[in-house]
């Protein structure tokens, strides 16, 4: 026999088999999706898990490293924080990034490094970094604010006042500091 008879159904799946098979395939797909979602929910439990997961997915992007550094800093792990910001700074010069992404990543990394330096008794180094950042990108409010605070902490509050005013103008969450 060259061609099969339509009534010869032995090798073919019946209608209920096909329905069941569709159901099983859809069920497996949904279970896989559920597993991935559970992993994502786990990642969203803290900043550290969130940005560690992000860095694992996109190790060439500077922004996740900047935020991972902040998470390490908040967890009290300064060496890991500094390493993350240094990585972010190194990645921030890739030509594939837009000019905005490059500039933002560079100044955000440097501002975070300067902040930590200032908090650990290395004010001169921190001041050099922040002065360079505000000279290059004066519209970055965090650098302006940190430089103002640094001036105040080193007894030069009036020198910091213009930076504090610029920071408050750029970002309403910053208050203009009051000098004694």
């Amino acid at each position: 026999m060259v061609t099969g008879d339509l009534t010869d159904t032995s090798p073919m799946l019946t209608r209920s088999d096909r329905r069941r098979l569709t159901g099983v395939a859809v069920g497996i797909w949904l279970l896989l999706l559920s597993g991935v979602t559970c992993v994502r929910a786990q990642a969203w439990t803290s900043d550290l898990t969130l940005w560690t997961a992000a860095v694992a997915v996109t190790p060439q992007k500077p922004r996740p490293f900047i935020n991972l550094g902040i998470a390490w800093d908040q967890a009290g792990q300064l060496p890991q924080a500094m390493q993350a910001w240094q990585t972010a700074y190194a990645l921030a010069f890739q030509p594939r990034l837009t000019a905005y992404q490059q500039t933002f990543s560079q100044v955000a990394s440097l501002t975070n490094i300067a902040r930590v330096l200032a908090q650990h008794g290395q004010e001169p180094a921190a001041e050099r970094l922040l002065t360079a950042v505000v000279a290059r990108v004066p519209q970055f409010p965090h650098a302006q604010h940190n430089l103002a605070v640094l001036y105040a902490r080193t007894g030069r509050c009036r020198d910091g006042l213009p930076h504090s005013e610029i920071a408050a103008r750029l970002d309403a969450s910053f208050q203009v500091m009051v000098c004694p």
């Binding site: 073919m12 999706l33 979602t37 969203w44």
Partner: protein, 353 residues
């Protein structure tokens, strides 16, 4: 098993999936967004778009002093409510198993997880989604009763109170009426649509003034209108890929590896999708309605140029269209497979008596 039992199973599965969130704290920009909740809200804040979202944070702060677990629980509850509403809306367009599939995808898909887990970005989307789905459900039934009109109006308040995207509810109802020729001359539907159109236009003007004019955030993008739409198209097609194969999800949504040629190709694909949606609306009404839902929900993010690209929580409502279209495709595939089963072939080959 009845659809009700399946839905209970899906709710329990979703609770299990999001079980890790019971340990979650405030992450990323949560604290920035929750900070205003520590102060009393003014009328201007309450009546502005997202007023209901602010109110939910404020009420939560007053109730428990800002405990993350309670805030995450409320987000999860809203997601579950949305999932049930997705079933209610889908069941009007699809067979019960396919409607269950659409709601299951909504409940468990990882692309929806950022909205559930991220309080700062997600709460507004969740409240708006409950409202939008409520409006669509209320005004797309075979008969629009007075009770449904009341539910629709309350849902519209929730939609806009959640987020400015809530204005989308009215175009979606109109889209449904056009797509499925559901117009039956109901004075309640007509009244609802006319009132809604007035409110829609008023809100649109309000949203334009409150959120767009003078918004410095919208001046930070480096791209022109076409380049921006092209870049958002690339993000859209990446998300559509993740809808099928969700590997590589990240909270960092910036698109960096975008050549001009690639983004323009994806823009052409998006325009083609829009054309196909209109062209094939009679042949595949549910699939194309899902596509139209997706594109309509994303339209503001293609036109209003923010410095950030499409992110997961911003596509929460838009994805409902994708799940509808996918479920309709699975339904069609299943019917096609069953029609090719031997019994079916025998049935068609032998004339009935």
């Amino acid at each position: 098993m009845t659809p009700k039992l399946w839905l209970i199973g899906l709710v329990l599965l979703t609770l299990a999936i999001y079980w890790p969130l019971r340990q979650a704290g405030f992450v990323y920009e949560d604290s920035v967004y929750l900070e205003p909740a520590q102060r009393p809200l003014g009328w201007a804040q309450l009546l502005a778009p997202r007023g209901l979202t602010l109110l939910s944070f404020r009420a939560q702060w007053l109730a428990d002093g800002g405990v993350p677990r309670a805030a995450h629980a409320l987000n999860l509850f809203l997601h579950l409510l949305c999932g049930l509403l997705v079933y209610a809306v889908s069941a009007r367009l699809l067979t019960p198993p396919a409607a269950l599939l659409a709601s299951a995808l909504f409940f468990v898909h990882p692309l929806q997880s950022e909205t559930v887990a991220y309080l700062a970005g997600g709460r507004a989307e969740l409240i708006a989604a409950v409202g939008i789905l409520g409006v669509v459900w209320a005004f797309t039934g075979p008969v629009v009763t007075g009770r449904q009109v009341i539910v629709g109006i309350l849902a519209a308040v929730a939609a806009v109170g959640g987020k400015e995207l809530g204005v989308l509810a009215l175009p979606l109802v109109a889209l449904h009426a056009i797509w499925f020729r559901a117009w039956r001359g109901s004075w309640r539907l007509a009244g609802g649509l006319v009132m809604g159109a007035g409110v829609f236009l008023g809100l649109l003007v309000g949203v334009f003034h409150a959120r767009i004019l003078g918004n410095l955030y919208l001046t930070m993008t480096e791209r022109g209108a076409l380049a921006y739409a092209a870049l958002q198209s690339l993000a859209l097609w990446q998300y559509l890929g993740l809808a099928i194969w969700p590997v590589g999800l990240s909270v960092d949504h910036d698109v960096e590896l975008a050549s001009r040629g690639l983004t323009l190709v994806t823009l052409a694909l998006t325009v083609s999708l829009a054309s196909a949606v209109v062209w094939y609306r009679r042949r595949w009404p549910v699939v194309t309605f899902g596509g139209a839902w997706l594109l309509l929900a994303l339209l503001p993010r293609f036109v209003v140029r923010q410095a950030e690209y499409l992110n997961e929580h911003q596509i929460y409502v838009a994805l409902i269209g994708v799940w509808l279209a996918l479920a309709a495709n699975v339904q069609a595939l299943s019917q096609w497979l069953q029609a090719r089963a031997p019994e079916a072939l025998c049935d068609s080959s032998s004339p009935s008596a």
